[in-house]
């Protein structure tokens, strides 16, 4: 089994996000970038497949600032090989189909038979990558994946729906998985492993031709209209606690 994991750097949404002058992107100059949370789970699940079923794991990322370090950390986590994919240009918050077009050939050329990536990113307004990659590769896909187990004749994938309902799905051939959570929380990597991985230079491969079809474009970004929203309590913890308890008393919500 050869698992390719697609990793993406995304803005840290805990930061203040400012809108760029162009109006259709965030100002990326100062915002912190981090590994997409769900991609982190996808990487963990891939490494678990390596440990449980001897899969080889290749971590793949679109080339860009910070990508070497991202891929080196994937090596420290257990990836066998890291590849960055070069491409000409993508608009802000690009369509999933455009990203899939860049990645699909390279993934096929690597000989991967399972692709794992995060179920979504905070900025994939143009659609989620896993299903778009499945469509591009002509492979089945599953989103909202919460655990993958090797089976003698393929993989058994747990797909989560709402309200605690889930299904276990058997996949016999190549498949793309949009991972929501790994079978176990992503592992911690020691500083020494990270330092070792710094010596690794990611391979470079050219991405596929740019997507030819029409795509949706983000024309502008805006802060949500304010209004409605919470009445904010001011003051220190004691002052807030007093107002909180007063509210509960007023509403008859104190216990007993």
């Amino acid at each position: 089994m050869h698992a390719a994991v697609v990793l993406r750097l995304v803005p840290d949404i805990a930061d203040d996000l400012e809108i760029s002058e162009s109006g259709n992107d965030i100002d990326r100059e100062w915002v912190g970038m981090k590994l997409n949370e769900f991609d982190d789970h996808a990487l963990e699940e891939a490494v678990l497949l390596k440990e449980r079923a001897g899969a080889s794991v290749t971590a793949v990322a679109l080339d860009g600032d910070g990508v070497d370090k991202l891929l080196q950390s994937a090596i420290a986590r257990g990836a066998d090989r890291v590849v960055k994919i070069t491409y000409d240009e993508l608009p802000p918050l690009p369509a999933a189909a455009a990203v899939a077009a860049i990645l699909a050939d390279a993934i096929q050329a690597l000989g991967a038979d399972v692709v794992l990536t995060g179920v979504q990113t905070p900025e994939d307004a143009g659609g989620q990558l896993a299903a778009a990659l499945g469509a591009r590769l002509g492979w089945p896909h599953l989103s909202a994946v919460a655990g993958v187990q090797p089976a003698p004749d393929g993989l058994i994938v747990r797909q989560e729906h709402s309200g605690g309902y889930a299904t276990r799905v058997h996949a016999a051939g190549p498949v793309v998985l949009g991972v929501q959570s790994a079978s176990q929380p992503p592992r911690y990597v020691s500083g020494s492993k990270l330092r070792q991985a710094i010596g690794v230079k990611p391979e470079k491969r050219a991405g596929g031709e740019a997507f030819a079809g029409p795509v949706a474009m983000v024309r502008r970004l805006a802060k949500p209209a304010s209004g409605g929203g919470a009445a904010m309590w001011k003051g220190d913890a004691d002052a807030v606690a007093d107002q909180f308890v007063a509210l509960l008393r007023e509403r008859g919500l104190l216990k007993g």
């Binding site: 203040d16 996000l17 965030i26 949370e37 369509a95 189909a97 899939a100 179920v119 905070p122 900025e123 994939d124 307004a125 143009g126 659609g127 989620q128 896993a130 299903a131 778009a132 469509a135 089945p140 896909h141 599953l142 989103s143 909202a144 989560e160 729906h161 309200g163 605690g164 309902y165 299904t167 276990r168 799905v169 058997h170 016999a172 051939g173 190549p174 949009g178 079809g213 795509v215 949706a216 474009m217 983000v218 502008r220 805006a222 802060k223 949500p224 304010s226 929203g229 919470a230 009445a231 904010m232 913890a237 807030v240 007093d242 107002q243 909180f244 509210l247 509960l248 509403r251 919500l253």
Partner: protein
């Protein structure tokens, strides 16, 4: 004539509520433009759920054993066949697990543009325009998707009433494509939530802990306040994924949807997937150190304060009675 196709999600033979919201969305788009609305029910036995759909001009059904329980590969193949044949101008999905699977798949396989996380939809010349929630709800993206287009719509964005109005739609049975006989995936088992554990839907007060709590050991402080409030303890998804609380205590899109008298959220950012599970609570109080956290947009009262300062102060007062 131009058409909007609504994908109707079913589970266990029943139409899921999101389908009615999508029908409402489709009608609001179609009416001013004079377009027609078609609804598509794909299941092993679609007849019963299809009867529930009255707010469309036409209800299409496709029956095949591989279509129930829901299997993404089967539904993607069914949709591809229907969309290629009927060429709808707009296809609508809900932002659910099926929507995550099928909106990009349908767009990719039928050469349509795609707008995800839509809260509003409009037709503007040759394009579908949408406002979409991005960056955990911190920003709204204005998207322009040239027609024909696919849109994935946020639950709660459209009131379902208009999707439930009475009518007598035309009913058409569609043949299942041959591709459904050659699938590479199959459902082995359906898993239902365990009975007997905590049932958050029955709780009148809930205190929900988010990732801001930092580590498992810190949950005890929140549990004590929950106890003093007479509230059930709940967690956001990352808290559950980290193994700090059992799954039955997860609130949100992939957890339990709740509507208690009191919902206290501490260290929860208020991502759309979390809000989907609790925004209808009677009284929501949010505690978060980031004054810009989206949870404050959904809460009735809040404080931008460190939860580790507030919880002990609150516990003291509640203990004193």
């Amino acid at each position: 004539m131009a058409t909007i196709l609504v994908y109707v999600e079913t589970r266990g033979g029943a139409v899921q509520p999101i389908a009615f919201e999508l029908l409402a969305a489709a009608r609001s788009l179609a009416a001013p433009a004079g377009w027609t609305v078609e609804a598509l029910v794909c299941a092993a036995d679609p007849a019963a759920p299809a009867v529930e759909i009255t707010a469309a001009d036409c209800v299409l059904t496709m029956a095949h054993p591989a279509l129930s329980p829901y299997l993404p590969e089967a539904h993607a193949a069914a949709l591809q066949a229907v969309v290629d044949e009927r060429q709808p101008d707009v296809v609508l999905f809900g932002y659910t697990t099926a929507g995550l699977d099928l909106a990009p798949a349908t767009a990719g396989r039928t050469g349509r543009t795609l707008a995800a996380y839509c809260r509003t939809l409009a037709l503007d010349g040759g394009a579908l325009t949408a406002s979409a929630q991005v960056y955990g709800g911190k920003l709204i993206a204005g998207i322009e998707a040239p027609l024909p287009a696919v849109a994935c719509v946020m639950p709660g964005a459209f009131a379902e009433d208009a999707g439930r109005i009475a009518g007598s739609p035309e009913r058409i049975v569609l043949p299942a494509p041959a591709t459904l006989g050659a699938l590479k995936t199959r459902v082995l088992e359906e898993l239902f939530p365990e009975a007997g554990g905590v049932d958050l839907t029955q709780a009148s007060r809930i205190l929900c802990v988010g990732r801001g709590i930092g580590e498992a050991a810190k949950i005890a402080g929140a549990a004590e306040v929950a106890e003093l409030l007479g509230a059930e303890l709940a967690g956001s998804r990352p808290v559950i994924d980290a193994g700090w609380m059992p799954k039955a205590r997860q609130v949100g899109k992939s957890g339990t949807k709740v509507r208690p008298k009191l919902y206290v959220a501490v260290g929860v950012s208020g991502a759309p997937e979390h809000l989907e599970g609790m925004a209808k609570s009677d009284l929501i109080v949010a505690i978060n150190s980031d004054a810009r956290a989206p949870i404050f947009g959904a809460a009735h009262f809040g404080a931008a304060i460190d939860l580790f300062d507030l919880l002990p102060a609150l516990a003291d007062r509640l203990r004193a009675g």
